[in-house]
C-alpha cells in the first residue's frame, strides 16, 4: 500500500496528568518541532497555547490541530461533574446506585461507592416497554413535564433520559427527548439508547450518566479553546481525539462526550500502531510506563484491539468502543516493602507524583522502582535534584539499606537489584495476562516501549516474556501527542442480531452490514479533513448457544454466507481455546463495521533532526558510567539524537534522550531504522 505524503502544517497536542506535549509537523519545511510544558489543570487551554508558543508555532498558518484532552477523564475520576438529573422508568431510579451487586475489593468488606447522580435528582415517570419492544404502559407526558421542571428548579445543567428496554424500542425515550428539548434550558440532553443501543440497564445508564455529566464541561472547554485559537488566527476545524483512536470535530465532540474518556491512552496506542506498520512490525504489545501508572494494549496487523466494555474504575462501566488499554500497575512510583512474611513486595502501593519517589526530592522516603533505577546507574544521577531540600544518591542508598536491605540481609545495591528483578517478573506476568485474556501468546508480538519509564524496563520484561524484539520509537515521551498527528477518522457500528446462526436471515445480515458502511462513509465525508483512503472492516460477535462470552471474528466482506460464518467462528474458537464443540450450535450476536478514513502518510523520520546526527557511534557516546547488571559494568551512554542514521548498538548500553532512558542489557543488539526507531533484538536470558 502506498500513500501520498501529507502536506501542510499540523499540530498534535496531548494533555496528560503532568505535561502537555506537542508535536508540530510541517511538511513544507520538512521539519518536526516538539514541546513539553506543564499541564494547567484549572484550564487546560492555557497549557495548549503555551505548548504552541514554546515551539514557536505560527498558529494562523496551521492547517489542522488535533487535540487529546483529559478534561472528561479527570472530571469522572475526581467526581468534578456537572449537576445532572435522571428521568427513568417508574420503579427503577435506584439502578444507578445499586449497580450489579459486587464490592470494591474481592477481600475486605469495607469500601465506598458513590453513584454519579444523587438519589434526589433521579426521578421516575410512568412508562414501560417490554423486552420485545412492545409497549406495556404509555409514557405519562404530564409526569414527564413535572419531572423536567423539578430538575430544572433543582439547578441541573444536564439531563439523562434512560428507560428500560429503550434499546429494543426507543419510542418513549425519543418522545421524552422531544418534550425535554422544549422544556430544558440547554442542549445537554443524553438519551440512553442514543449512545449505546444494547441491553443491560446499569451499563447503559452509567454510560449515559457519564456522558451527560461531563458534556457541559467538555462543551465549554472546547468552545473556549477554539475561541482562543481563533483569536490567534487559527481558521481550520479543531479536532478532538476519541477513545476509539479516531478523531472527531470539536463542533460535535460534546454530543458523545463519554467517548473522549480514555482518549489519551488510546492516542498513544494509535501512534504505536502507526509506527509499527511503517517499521514492518505490525503485531505489538504496547508497554506505556509512566510515574504513576502502566498501561498495556495489543495491536494485531497494525490494528489496536478495541473493547466495548471498559470499566474505568470500580462499578463505572463505559460501554462505547474504545481502544482496549489495560492499566496493569502503578509505574515507576511503585513502593517496595518487606512484608510480614519477610518477602520483598513491589507495589501495589505507589508514591504517586506527590511526594513521589525519593529521587524526586519532594519528601518521598520509601524506596520505589524509580529509586532502584537511580541507585543502579540506569538513570542518570546528574538529574537528581541535589539542591536545597533535594536528595543525593546516599539518601537513596540509605533508604534501601535500612528499609529493604536490613530485613533481607542484603546491601543497598543488592536490594535495589532485587526490587527490579521482582518488578520485572511482576510486570511481565501482567503483560502476559493481558495478552492471553485477548487470546494471544505474547511471544508472537514485539514490545513497543513508551512513556517516561517504558524503555527503562522493556528489554528486561521482553526477555522475561520470551518476546523476541523491543521497538523503542524515536520519541517515547511524546507518543500520545504523535497519536494526534497520525490518527485517522474512525466510526464504529454495532448491530445486534442475537439469533442461532442456522435461523439467521442472511439477507438481513447483509443489509445491516451495508447500512453500517453507508452510515460510516457519510460520516467521514462530513468531516473537513483530507483522507488518502477509505478503509472498511467487518467483524461478527459469535458464541456457542448457552455461552455468555462473545468471540469477535473478523470477516472478509459485507456479504458472508452462513457457512463462512460457521467456519470462521469454529476456526477462531479452536485457535482461542483449543476446544472443538461440534455438539453445540453457534449464535450470531452482533455484526460490526468500522469505517476508517486513513489520512495521508506522515514522515516519522522527521521526529529526529537529521542535522544533529553524528557520523559514528563513538561520536554519539557522551560518557560512560557504572551500571548494575548482575555486577557493576562500565557502560557506554549515548545521546539518542546523536546516533548515526543506521547505527547498530550492542548492550550493555544506555541511550538517553530529553525525557526518557533506554537500558539495553548485555547481549541485546539494537539497530536504528529509517524512522529513527531502535529495534532491539534480545540476547539470551543470562
Amino acid at each position: 500500500m502506498t500513500r501520498t505524503d501529507i502536506t501542510g502544517s499540523f499540530a498534535g497536542i496531548d494533555v496528560g496528568g503532568t505535561f502537555t506535549d506537542l508535536v508540530h509537523y510541517d511538511s513544507r519545511a520538512g521539519r518536526v518541532k516538539l514541546a513539553k510544558v506543564p499541564t494547567t489543570l484549572d484550564n487546560q487551554a492555557h497549557g495548549v497555547l503555551a505548548a504552541l508558543d514554546a515551539a514557536s508555532v505560527d498558529i494562523a498558518a496551521l492547517d489542522l490541530i488535533v487535540h487529546g484532552t483529559t478534561t472528561t477523564t479527570n472530571a469522572v475520576l475526581e467526581r468534578q461533574l456537572c449537576k445532572t438529573g435522571l428521568i427513568t422508568t417508574h420503579g427503577f431510579r435506584d439502578v444507578l446506585e445499586l449497580g450489579r451487586r459486587t464490592r470494591p475489593h474481592p477481600y475486605g468488606m469495607s469500601g465506598q461507592f458513590r453513584p454519579l447522580i444523587p438519589r434526589d435528582l433521579r426521578l421516575e415517570v410512568p412508562e414501560r416497554m417490554l423486552a420485545d419492544g412492545t409497549e406495556y404502559l404509555a409514557l405519562d407526558e404530564d409526569a414527564l413535564r413535572a419531572a423536567l421542571r423539578q430538575l430544572v428548579d433543582a439547578g441541573c445543567e444536564a439531563l439523562v433520559i434512560h428507560f428500560l428496554h429503550a434499546y429494543a424500542n426507543p419510542a418513549h425515550e425519543r418522545r421524552a427527548g422531544e418534550i425535554a428539548a422544549q422544556e430544558w434550558p440547554n442542549g445537554n440532553i443524553t438519551m440512553g439508547h442514543a449512545l449505546l443501543s444494547e441491553s443491560r440497564e446499569y451499563e447503559r445508564g452509567v454510560t449515559a450518566a457519564v456522558n451527560a455529566s461531563v458534556q457541559p464541561l467538555l462543551r465549554r472547554y472546547v468552545e473556549r479553546l477554539a475561541d482562543r485559537l481563533a483569536d490567534r488566527g487559527y481558521a481550520s476545524d479543531l479536532l478532538v481525539m476519541n477513545g476509539n483512536g479516531g478523531m472527531v470535530s470539536a463542533r460535535i465532540v460534546a454530543e458523545e462526550a463519554a467517548k473522549t474518556v480514555m482518549s489519551g491512552p488510546a492516542s498513544g496506542v494509535m501512534a504505536a500502531a502507526y509506527t509499527g506498520r511503517r517499521a514492518g512490525i505490525p503485531d505489538l504489545l504496547t508497554y506505556d510506563m509512566g510515574g504513576t501508572s502502566t498501561d498495556v494494549a495489543m495491536i494485531r496487523g497494525a490494528d489496536p484491539a478495541v473493547s466495548h466494555e471498559i470499566e474505568i474504575e470500580y462499578a463505572m462501566p463505559i460501554h462505547v468502543p474504545m481502544v482496549d488499554v489495560r492499566t496493569v500497575g502503578a509505574g515507576g512510583g511503585s513502593i517496595a516493602r518487606v512484608n510480614a512474611a519477610g518477602l520483598l513486595q513491589v507495589g501495589p502501593d505507589s508514591a504517586g507524583s506527590t511526594p513521589g519517589p525519593i529521587c524526586y526530592g519532594k519528601g518521598g522516603t520509601e524506596p520505589t522502582i524509580s529509586d532502584a533505577n537511580m541507585l543502579l546507574g540506569r538513570m542518570n544521577p546528574d538529574r537528581l535534584n541535589t539542591g536545597a531540600g533535594g536528595v543525593t544518591l546516599d539518601t537513596i542508598r540509605d533508604a534501601f539499606a535500612a528499609r529493604l536491605g536490613a530485613p533481607l540481609g542484603l546491601d543497598a545495591v543488592a536490594a535495589a537489584a532485587a526490587v527490579l528483578q521482582i518488578a520485572t517478573a511482576k510486570m511481565a506476568d501482567a503483560v502476559r495476562m493481558v495478552s492471553i485474556s485477548l487470546g494471544e501468546d505474547p511471544r508472537d508480538f514485539a514490545l513497543f516501549a513508551f512513556g517516561g519509564a517504558g524503555p527503562l524496563h522493556a528489554c528486561a520484561i521482553a526477555r522475561e516474556l520470551g518476546v523476541p524484539r523491543v521497538l523503542v520509537p524515536a520519541r517515547p515521551g511524546i507518543t500520545n501527542a504523535l497519536g494526534c498527528i497520525v490518527a485517522d477518522l474512525r466510526h464504529d457500528f454495532v448491530q445486534t442480531i442475537n439469533r442461532p446462526l442456522d435461523l439467521c436471515d442472511m439477507e438481513e445480515v447483509h443489509v445491516a452490514l451495508a447500512a453500517q458502511v453507508a452510515q460510516g462513509t457519510a460520516a467521514v465525508e462530513t468531516e473537513r479533513v483530507d483522507i488518502a483512503e477509505l478503509k472498511v472492516s467487518h467483524s461478527v460477535d459469535m458464541q456457542f448457544i448457552g455461552q455468555t462470552h462473545l468471540l469477535r471474528v473478523p470477516i472478509p466482506d459485507a456479504s458472508p454466507t452462513r457457512e463462512d460464518l460457521q467456519k470462521l467462528f469454529e476456526e477462531a474458537y479452536f485457535r482461542r481455546f483449543q476446544v472443538a464443540l461440534p455438539e453445540i450450535r453457534p449464535a450470531l450476536v452482533n455484526v460490526n463495521t468500522s469505517v476508517i478514513g486513513r489520512r495521508p502518510e506522515v514522515d516519522l523520520s522527521l521526529l529526529i533532526d537529521a542535522s544533529l546526527r553524528k557520523p559514528t557511534l563513538a561520536d554519539a557516546q557522551t560518557s560512560t558510567r557504572d551500571v548494575w547488571f548482575d555486577g557493576w559494568t562500565d557502560t557506554p551512554v549515548y545521546w539518542r539524537d546523536f546516533l548515526p542514521a543506521s547505527a547498530t548498538l550492542s548492550g550493555p548500553a544506555i541511550v538517553e534522550q530529553m525525557d526518557c532512558t533506554l537500558v539495553m542489557e548485555p547481549g541485546d543488539v539494537a539497530t536504528q531504522d529509517q524512522d529513527g526507531n531502535l529495534i532491539v533484538t534480545l540476547g539470551p536470558r543470562p
Binding site: G91, F92, R101, Q421, S437
Partner: protein, 560 residues
C-alpha cells in the same frame, strides 16, 4: 535454608500466575453463566503428599478459599488406601461428594496430577459450579430436602479422563442424571482445558528454576505464610472472644439454628471452637466440615486481605472439629444450603467475635445471604419451559471508616447480579421495581448499607417459586452499640392474596400463575457504633434522600 528471598518471591508469583491463568482459561471457555459470568469457580495447586494448598487463583470465588485441599487430601488418601484407582499420566478425576471434602453437589471438582520423571510432583484441581446436578429441584437448591439423594447426583472420585481422553461411559451416566445435559460438554472441556493450561505453565516454571528449587521454595513459602498470619494474629490481644449467629431455620423444621463460636487468641494462633452450636438439622442447612473450615478461612481473609491463600496461612487457625453439630454434617444429611448460606453465617460469627479486638478493621455484619430465588415455569401455549435464577445482594455493615455499601454481593461471592433487561428477555416475567430497600440500613455511628427491593410478576403460564435465603428472622448484627440491619422480607401475592412463607425467606415449590407476584426485600447491613453519635448532617442527608423517613430516623438515631 539455601534459597534466597528474591527467588522465593519470584517463584511465589510464578505459582500464583499459574493459578490465575487457570482461572482465566476456565471462565473464558465455560458455558454455564454461573462460571463464565459469575466466576463461580476456582483453581489451585496442591501438594503431592497430603493435598495441602500451595497456591490458589486470585479470581476464584471467596467461598472456595482452601476448600479443594480437603477434597484433594481425601483423594490422595483414598488412592493410598486402594479405595480409588491410582492415576496414570493424562488422567483427570471428577468428584462432587460433599462428605469427601466438598461443599454442595453443584460444585464439581476436577483433579489431575502433574508428573515429573514418572512421579507426581503436585496436583492441580479446580471447582466449577454446574447449573444442575440432578435432584428434586432444578439448580439443586432444594429448601426442603431431607437427604442428600434428593439434592442430586453424587460422584465419588472417578477418572473421567483416562490418558487424556474423556470416558464416554462415565460421561453418559452423568448426562442421564442432570438437566440441560447437552451444554455440559462445553463446561467439562473448559474445566479440563484449564488444568492442561496450568500444567503447561507449571512445567515451564519447573524447567526454569528446577524441580528441587521449586519444591524447596514451596516449603519455605508455607513457613513464611504461617509467619505472616501469626504476625497479624499478634494484633489480637490474648483472650477468648465469643459470638452467636443464627440461621433462621433449616427449611424443614421452623426453629432457628445457633452457631456458637469462641475464638481464643494466644498471640500466635487462633483456636475456633464451635461447640454448643445446634445439632445436625433435618433440612439442607447442614455444613460439611470442609465448608465450615473454609468459611473460617474466608472470613479471616476478609479481615486480613494481604495473607496469601495457602496452607501455611491457615496453619495458625486451629479449628476444633465441631462434632455432633450441624457444622460437621455426615452422610446422608442434606447440605445444599451450606456453601451459599451457612458459610456466610459462620463468617458473620467470626466477624462478630473479632470486631471487639480489631475494631478498626472488622465491619458490622453484612447482609450475608446469596438471595437465591429460583422460578421454574411453563408456558404451555408456547411449548416452552424455563428455570430462572435471581441472586441478589444486600447492605454491608458499617465500619470504622464509613457506612456500609448498599446492595453488596454475598460475603462468599464476588459475582455480578443479572440485569433486569436480560431476565425479562429470557423469561416471561416483569419486574415492577428494582430499588433500594428503604429503611433497612442498621442504625449506627456508621450505618449499614441498604438492601435491595424488587418485585417480579409472572406474565404467562404457570411457575413454581423456591427461595433459599436467610436473615428473615434476625437482621445482620450491629456491633459496638450499632443496631441490627433490616430483615429479609419475602412476600408472595397469589390470586390477589399476599402471604409470607412459613420459613420466611426459605420455601420450595410455591405454585404461581400469570399475574402472581413475588416481592423480595433483602437485608440491610448492621450498624457500627452508637446511633446517637452519628453526625446529624448525615442523618439529615439520609432523610433528604428518602433512605429513611423522618419518623424512622428519629426512632433509630434519636431526636435532634
Amino acid at each position: 535454608m539455601t534459597i534466597d528471598p528474591i527467588t522465593l518471591t519470584v517463584i511465589q508469583s510464578g505459582l500464583q500466575q499459574v493459578c490465575d491463568e487457570m482461572d482465566l482459561s476456565f471462565s473464558r471457555a465455560a458455558f454455564s453463566p454461573v462460571i463464565a459470568e459469575a466466576n463461580d469457580r476456582s483453581d489451585g495447586i496442591y501438594s503431592a503428599e497430603d493435598g495441602s494448598l500451595i497456591a490458589q487463583g486470585s479470581m476464584g470465588l471467596p467461598v472456595f478459599v482452601g476448600t479443594m485441599q480437603f477434597s484433594t487430601r481425601t483423594l490422595i488418601r483414598m488412592i493410598a488406601d486402594g479405595r480409588t484407582i491410582a492415576p496414570q499420566p493424562g488422567d483427570i478425576y471428577i468428584v462432587n461428594d460433599p462428605y469427601l471434602g466438598g461443599t454442595h453437589l453443584m460444585d464439581v471438582r476436577f483433579a489431575m496430577p502433574v508428573w515429573r520423571n514418572g512421579e507426581i510432583f503436585c496436583w492441580l484441581s479446580n471447582t466449577g459450579h454446574w447449573p444442575d446436578t440432578g435432584g428434586a429441584v432444578p439448580g439443586g437448591f432444594s429448601a426442603s430436602a431431607t437427604a442428600v439423594e434428593q439434592e442430586g447426583l453424587r460422584l465419588p472420585p472417578v477418572r473421567l479422563f483416562k490418558k487424556g481422553e474423556l470416558d464416554p461411559e462415565i460421561y453418559a451416566i452423568i448426562c442421564s442424571n442432570i438437566r440441560v445435559a447437552d451444554q455440559r460438554i462445553g463446561d467439562v472441556k473448559a474445566q479440563a482445558a484449564a488444568l492442561y493450561v496450568g500444567q503447561a505453565r507449571l512445567e515451564r516454571l519447573l524447567d526454569r528454576y528446577g524441580d528441587d528449587t521449586v519444591a524447596e521454595a514451596i516449603g519455605e513459602l508455607r513457613r513464611r505464610a504461617s509467619r505472616q498470619m501469626r504476625a497479624y494474629i499478634a494484633q489480637i490481644p490474648p483472650g477468648t472472644y465469643t459470638s452467636v449467629a443464627y440461621v433462621d431455620s433449616d427449611g424443614v423444621v421452623n426453629e432457628p439454628l445457633e452457631i456458637r463460636l469462641a475464638i481464643t487468641a494466644d498471640g500466635e494462633k487462633l483456636t475456633f471452637d464451635f461447640s454448643g452450636s445446634s445439632a445436625p438439622c433435618a433440612g439442607p442447612m447442614n455444613s460439611v466440615l470442609a465448608t465450615t473450615q473454609s468459611s473460617v478461612y474466608l472470613a479471616m481473609r476478609h479481615i486480613f486481605p494481604d495473607v496469601p491463600i495457602s496452607a501455611g496461612a491457615f496453619e495458625p487457625l486451629d479449628i476444633v472439629r465441631p462434632e455432633g453439630t450441624f457444622l460437621d454434617a455426615q452422610y446422608p444429611r442434606p447440605v445444599s444450603g451450606c456453601a451459599a448460606e451457612v458459610s456466610q453465617r459462620i463468617a458473620e460469627a467470626v466477624f462478630a467475635a473479632l470486631v471487639g479486638p480489631l475494631p478498626d478493621i472488622v465491619t458490622a455484619a453484612p447482609a450475608g445471604s446469596s438471595g437465591n430465588f429460583a422460578l421454574g415455569g411453563e408456558v404451555p401455549e408456547e411449548g416452552r419451559s424455563y428455570v430462572m435464577y435471581q441472586i441478589s445482594g444486600g447492605g454491608y455493615g458499617g465500619y470504622a471508616g464509613g457506612d456500609g455499601i448498599s446492595n453488596g454481593c454475598s460475603t462468599i461471592g464476588i459475582s455480578k447480579s443479572p440485569p433486569v433487561e436480560i431476565m425479562e428477555q429470557q423469561f416471561p416475567v416483569l419486574y415492577h421495581r428494582y430499588a433500594l430497600h428503604e429503611g433497612s440500613g442498621g442504625a449506627g455511628t456508621h450505618r449499614g448499607g441498604f438492601g435491595l427491593d424488587y418485585e417480579v410478576e409472572i406474565l404467562k403460564g404457570t411457575a413454581r417459586a423456591s427461595f433459599v435465603m436467610d436473615h428473615g428472622r434476625f437482621g445482620p448484627q450491629g456491633v459496638l452499640g450499632g443496631a441490627d440491619g433490616g430483615v429479609n422480607r419475602v412476600t408472595v401475592t397469589r390470586s390477589g392474596q399476599s402471604f409470607v412463607p412459613e420459613h420466611l425467606s426459605k420455601a420450595q415449590d410455591i405454585a404461581l400463575s400469570a399475574g402472581d407476584r413475588v416481592h423480595v426485600r433483602t437485608p440491610g447491613g448492621g450498624g457500627y457504633g452508637p446511633p446517637e453519635k452519628r453526625d446529624p448532617a448525615l442523618v439529615a442527608e439520609d432523610v433528604r434522600l428518602g433512605r429513611y423517613t423522618a419518623e424512622e430516623a428519629k426512632a433509630l438515631f434519636g431526636p435532634r
